[in-house]
């Protein structure tokens, strides 16, 4: 489904329903034979994106000769056929009658069991690096533009020429790490592919033009893959000169349009000036701008560099944390073709492994309604991010949960004012017993932190694997989502003498349960008000968003909460315990108002 985009994803592992927007192409893919008659008559010209803008195309065009599907596409924004009085020439000449100016986007629903995300990456635009003069100096080009210039199907039929005078350059300079490995502009990470791409480009130029002088300015050459060192050495044998040092400035000769590169040679020491007729910026890669859309649809996470985060960096390198979703290629991180192909095979195998079993078991962490306690108020229906709960508020029949649709975030359970929803494997009693056990002895010395499984708890794990040290006073209680953390858990912790309570969840964009984390925020804001009214300092309840990639932040937050803990006085804690006494021993209910609490949830449920 080319020229299509994923618009919505519903469901869960094994049973996703995906809505795909098939964008209006204005050309019937099945009928079009790519004969090209329409191109001949189209009066509109526009920069050719595939050729990096080095040549032009028409408003109706084929992206490139080998395109699949082999059919044309009409850019309706450029086309004059929007107003058939103005044009309509392509329509007239098309024998197959396959052009339709009134074509519309179509939404299609598909059911799938697994999803592989291979959305790729974007190439760095070096315009912001003023020192290299890209876009100011025409003979400074990017490595992607070079690919089109040296390609026999490209705008120059493969002749390497300068854009200013269309002459062959005698000296070509490459600058490495453009947009990579920089803390200032561009990206801090290594883009993986640019060193070997330049080695390859050197060999290509030497094959076509043995006399062209080649100079490569670099920080390190990372020729780490199989066969890479051979290629690197071969490029040197063919005459490419590698100079360690990145030019600080490029100057253009106003007449010849040749370039002067000022560089500190860090091998030999001293500043040098090198001349070149053409400079190729070996640009790095970065996450696609539209990654956040896919991220939200599939509740994915991203690492600090912005690429998608795998479930485990060593043992689950192509799995997403979302079950049934896998990654391959540069969507997960910069990598070359071989690694992309390898990862694609791995992702396919992982998807196959799931699908070939024909069935999948869903972790038993879903929510259950206790019908006797449910008052059919309907709050949970609005809370559930998955629309898994339904409730007839008029008929006052207890709510029901579609277990298969429930992902187990627990926000409903925490929001239910009647304690009528329990979570399997994360019951109130289980969580409260952890709180009680932790605070039984010396609670004044401890910080209680609730951490969601997917982000904050994982961020804590990452702090561990990276050995980021922090004070040993904090103890974590893991819930699947921070949205599970009921107000009564927080109050119970304070009533037990906790000086500081931290609630920690995913950043809003990372929330593993679509938007359940919104409920965390709302609840904490309400709690702050309530604490203040009760004379308890609200900042003793802390709220932090820590992603799975933020091990450093996790450690920083742990240090901060420990600092806060040290400022809490014993008098404050005693006061809090007095004020919240009822949380631990609820006052006896009026027998006339209903039957005495029977279930565990009702017994521990405290209306605040």
């Amino acid at each position: 489904m080319a020229y299509s985009e994923v618009e919505n994803v519903a469901g869960y592992v094994g049973n996703f329903t995906v809505t795909v927007r098939k964008k209006a192409r204005y050309v019937d893919v099945k009928e079009c034979t790519a004969c090209g008659d329409c191109i001949d008559v189209c009066p509109v010209t526009a920069p050719d994106e595939f050729e990096e803008g080095l040549s032009t195309r028409k408003a109706i065009y084929q992206p490139f000769p080998q395109a699949v599907p082999s059919a044309f596409v009409l850019n309706i924004d450029e086309c004059l056929g929007n107003n058939p009085i103005a044009c309509g020439k392509c329509l007239e000449v098309c024998d197959k009658d396959c052009i339709d100016y009134d074509d519309k986007d179509k939404l299609v629903d598909i059911d799938v069991g697994t999803i592989i995300v291979t959305t790729g990456m974007a190439v760095y635009d070096p315009t912001e690096l003023d020192e290299f003069g890209y876009t100011r100096y025409e003979n400074v080009i990017t490595s992607m533009e070079f690919e089109r210039l040296i390609n026999s199907g490209g705008p120059t039929q493969g002749h390497l020429i300068r854009l200013t005078d269309l002459k062959e350059p005698k000296t070509v300079a490459f600058i490495q790490c453009v947009g990579s490995r920089s803390e200032n502009k561009g990206n801090p990470y290594c883009s993986n592919i640019c060193c070997m791409n330049t080695v390859k480009d050197c060999l290509l130029i030497k094959d076509h033009y043995p006399d062209v002088k080649l100079k490569v300015f670099y920080i390190d050459i990372r020729a780490f893959g199989k066969g890479f060192e051979d290629l690197f050495q071969r490029s040197k044998e063919k005459g490419a000169v590698y100079i360690r040092g990145i030019p600080g400035e490029i100057e253009e000769d106003p007449e010849t349009k040749s370039l002067k590169l000022y560089v500190e040679n860090t091998t030999e020491g001293g500043t040098e000036c090198h001349e070149a007729d053409m400079v190729i910026l070996s640009v790095g890669v970065h996450p696609r701008e539209d990654s956040s859309a896919i991220q939200k649809l599939l509740t994915l996470q991203r690492s600090q560099d912005g690429f998608f985060l795998e479930a485990h960096p060593k043992l689950k390198p192509v799995d997403a944390a979302t079950q049934g979703v896998f990654f391959a290629g540069c969507a997960e991180g910069p990598k070359d073709i071989k690694d992309s192909v390898t990862q694609a095979g791995a992702a396919a195998a992982r998807a196959n492994r799931l699908m070939m079993q024909g069935k999948v078991s869903v972790e038993a962490i879903t929510s259950t309604i206790i019908p006797e306690l449910c008052k059919a108020c309907g709050i949970c229906v609005n809370v559930c991010p998955y629309h898994a709960i339904s409730c007839d508020t008029e008929a006052k029949t207890p709510a029901t949960v579609v277990e298969a649709a429930c992902s187990g975030c627990g926000a409903c359970s925490a929001e239910c004012p009647f304690g009528a929803i329990t979570m399997k494997h994360f019951t109130d009693k289980q969580i409260e017993s952890q709180i009680d056990a932790m605070l039984e002895v010396d609670p004044q010395d401890k910080v209680l932190a609730f951490a969601c499984n997917w982000c904050s708890y994982s961020g804590g794990d990452l702090a561990g694997t990276n050995r980021f040290q922090y004070p040993p006073n904090v103890r974590l209680i893991r819930t699947m989502c921070s949205g599970r953390v009921d107000k009564k858990f927080v109050l119970r912790a304070f009533a037990r003498g906790a000086p500081i309570v931290l609630l920690s969840g995913c950043h809003f964009a990372d929330c593993h349960y679509i938007n359940a984390v919104h409920w965390t925020q709302r609840r904490v804001e309400k709690l702050w008000d309530q604490l203040e009214k009760k004379g308890i300092r609200p900042d003793r309840l802390q709220l932090e968003w820590i992603s799975a990639a933020e091990g450093q932040k996790f450690a920083t937050v742990m240090r901060a909460v420990e600092e806060l803990r040290q400022k809490v006085t014993p008098e404050e804690v005693e006061h809090t315990k007095r004020v919240l006494k009822d949380v631990l021993e609820p006052p006896k209910k009026d027998p006339a108002k209903g039957k005495p609490a029977e279930s565990e949830s009702a017994a521990s449920g405290v209306a605040v």
Binding site: S4, A67, G113, T118, E147, V199, H425
Partner: protein
Amino acid sequence: MANLDGGGEELRVGVFVCQCGHNIAGTVDCDDVAKFSEGLEGVVVVYNNKYTCSEPGQLEIKKGIDENNLNRVVVASCSPRMHEPTFRATLVEAGLNPYLLEMANLREHCSWVHMNEKEAATEKAKDLVKMAVARARSLEAQDEMVVPITQKALVIGGGIAGVQAALDLADAGYKIYLVEKEPSIGGIMAAIDKTYPTMDCSI
């Protein structure tokens, strides 16, 4: 009374303290933690292993369950995000419901992050085990819902990775939807002239 679970069965918790070689034991006094665990409510037996996740370590869990008639298991080792599936499988092999396992994270959340505060780390480890045992006491057996899997896959993005993944799965006999934003598949690779390390064409 206190040592009965929700179903009225006597609670029999086994605690398995893992040293993880030097990873945990290098900072946390595992012997002390094990000794402390013996006094926790409901705990009937405590083991102290070098590597609980290893084959001998898992065998010890199975043996421990069998010999002591355990109905709750606490493994005090690494992150549940690492080895919960491993130990759940061990419980199943020993005939216990996998949801009767609880883990205490003594490695990522304790020994690795408090390396210079050995005593405090040991005290924290004891608390973490205590919390895990408290939670374990109220754990209940769960049945997982089994749902069918649609035998089709979606691949989002038609660059080299997407095309390869789609072909591999199609070759395995699945129907594949390959969704590509641009009018043609091929991605960035299609625009590259020659490719390393083979120095041949991209298309």
